[in-house]
């Protein structure tokens, strides 16, 4: 099973003719993702790695029916229009693999998708992978690498860092586990979907026996997961590793989302919240599979 994407998921690419859009279309298709079309206004009739190009998303819907996922590769400065377009066309999930989007645009997108009943992942996510079935975005990089490091199995993975979304699956693999679905939630301070929003999906997924998280200081995503667990809406073993535990307060990083201020979002607050809710904290990433081995009963 896995969550969000499978080999049946109908995927389109907005911005399919640009450098990144074209390269990732090739990769997604080679990996097995059902890429049914892409958009680039004025280029209808062209093909990108065998995928037909359309002018608009609505055109694809008229031609091929409902769309499950749109992967967007356009600059952050014009992302809002692209997200509105997909939402207006009734696309069920949108994942902009784009950084540098103005924050007021992001807040508008999030509100707009909520009105339309569309799930927005990110912005600033590098993607989602359900190993052996499908990938959206550029998580995995290329087919050879993706096959080598993303082994299918029973652990759902969240990563707050794009770069680290390969690390936890690798550590799990070394520790004898595979992964059901890996999700990078995005780098922006405001996200359409947080880990807490997705935890119930992992709860429902029979293949997923536990969830592992690469967490970071800043924000309150981990604390929100603790609330979901405490409310009994996620009951499987939940293990987090929090990077930045040694960072002094106020130290800043490239993502605006990981600034520690006044105790909120600190590693300590996250670890305490998770432990209190009944989850587990790994001191180092390599402890994650050891904890999961002990806690998963079957």
């Amino acid at each position: 099973m896995g969550i969000l994407i499978s080999k049946e998921t109908k995927v389109i690419v907005q911005g399919i003719t640009c450098r990144e859009g074209s390269v990732r279309t090739k990769y997604m298709k080679e990996y097995g993702t059902k890429v049914i079309g892409g958009t680039s206004p004025g280029k209808k009739g062209q093909e990108v790695h065998g995928v037909p190009v359309y002018n608009t998303v609505k055109e694809i819907v008229r031609d091929q029916g409902e769309i499950d996922f749109s992967v967007i590769f356009v600059p952050g400065s014009v992302l809002k229009t692209a997200v509105f377009e997909a939402a207006d066309a009734g696309v069920k999930n949108i994942i902009p693999c784009v950084e540098g989007t103005p924050i007021h645009d992001i807040m508008e997108m999030v509100a707009y998708c909520k009105l339309r009943g569309t799930r927005l992942i990110g912005p600033g996510s590098i993607g989602i992978i359900t190993p052996g079935e499908a990938v959206v975005g550029w998580l995995g990089g290329n087919v050879e690498w993706a096959n080598k490091f993303f082994k299918r199995g029973s652990i759902g993975v969240f990563s707050r860092s794009g770069g680290q979304s390969g690390t936890i699956p690798w550590v799990l693999r070394e520790g004898g586990f595979g992964v059901s679905t890996v999700i990078h939630t995005g780098t922006e301070p405001i996200l359409g979907t947080s880990m807490a929003d997705l935890l119930p999906l992992f709860e429902e997924d029979p293949e997923t026996k536990g969830v592992a998280v690469y967490a970071e200081i800043g924000g309150s995503q981990e604390e929100e997961c603790a609330e979901v667990i405490a409310a009994g809406k996620f009951t499987k073993p939940f293990v987090i590793y929090v990077a930045g535990a040694w960072a002094p307060e106020g130290q800043r990083f490239s993502h605006a989302s990981n600034i520690v201020e006044r105790g909120r979002g600190s590693a300590k607050s996250k670890m305490e919240a998770i432990t209190k809710a009944g989850g587990y904290v790994a001191e180092t990433p390599t402890d994650i599979p050891l904890i999961l081995k002990e806690k998963i009963k079957d």
Binding site: G76, S77, E99, G100, T101, P102, I103, H104, D105, M107, E108, V110, A111, Y112, L115, I126, W138, L139, G140, G141, W145, F149, R160, S161, G162, G163, Q164, G166, T167, P169, W170, V171, T187, P189, I190, L191, G192, S194, A196, Y214, E216, G219, S220, E224, A243, G244, A245, W246, A247, P248, Q251, R252, F253, S254, H255, A256, S257, N258, T284, T286
Partner: protein, 424 residues
Amino acid sequence: MAKFLEYQGKEWLRKAGMPVPKGKVASSPEEAKEVAEWIGGPVAVKGQVQAGGRGKAGIVKLVNTPEEAAAAAAEILSKTVKGLPVRQVLIEEKLDIKKEYYCSFVINNAREARSPMLMFSTEGGMDIESVPEELIFKLNIDPIFGFKTYDAIDFCVKAGIPDDELSKFASFLTKLAKIYKEYDCQTLEINPFVMTGNGDLVCADCKMEIDNSAVGRHPEFGIKIARDLPGEPTELDLIGWSIEETDARGTGFLMNMGYDEVSPGYIGYHPIGGGSAMMGLDALNQVGLKPANYADTSGNPVGSKIYRVAKCVLSQPNIDGYLLGGFMMANQEQWHHANALVKVLWEELPKKPGLPCVLLLCGNKEDESLEILRKGLADLMTPDGPGKRIEIYGKEYVTDTKFIGERLAALAKEYRAEKEAHGK
């Protein structure tokens, strides 16, 4: 965020139709005197720096004559606040203050909000942290539909504004909400805004921070570096920004972190990606080392970009080491990093012989990358060579912040001892 000084923020508020005191900025006592004469009557002289607590730091003064304004300006312009020299003063008409209020607009990233949030209090003028929680009124604002006047009136009633002043306050706050969005602010804080003796609301102070990602659509602001910097941009910051500005292929982020280029224990820091940066900092902080700078070469940058970042990091004076902290199983092909590093180390290490360099590179094309490093650096890494303290690690250590930190600390200790022995 690109932060404006008070006088800049007020200028933009004025242009947007908000009431601000009559005033102008001055950079010398003579100019201050001229502005005071132009205003006429008592004035406030306010030092312009990016720091809170200006009153306590003694850089805000109320005076009665242009001569006194010149004297106050001379005193304030000679001061330094939190390491920042005061280069300008704002001269403003002295307000007849009846009452002070607080308001700010910020981004609320809580799961149930994901929207702008207004905070308002009738107890303005002081640090917001010292205002009791029950006297701060908060409201999330719909990002699409905005802040409606009737909602503002509703809100002001709850916050304790008397009936005859409701419309005035509602109009003031809704205007600010509009400006907050139109100017793409991350933060807009007016503390205090005041009611004057004749009942007008005026913005007595202004803290305005523009969203870095939106700077591109506001050429009118003339912002040179869209980045969070602790003070004025250093030479390294300017080079860093030029690398990023001229080449959009992947990230090549570089900024100063307050290193004075003299103190011991600082490491030229080169992580790859925000997540690995955090683990790298854990590695350094665990062993008492500090990052001289912050850098990031993730998002699949081209080799030339990585080369320029690494070159800047390594050429910082008096660093005690260099860490390529690739604490991640990268999706990007890592051989671009390997090639760039070989070139940079050959250029820089002869100038800093024996500098500890711990290179951790893991993930896509790792074997090939480590081979490029080992082969390319072999002749530099001889027992007496300038690269004798280069150590190369791969995925076996990808999450081992403790080991990497300890290796760097041990090598840095040797290096410092060696430098001292040479009388440097």
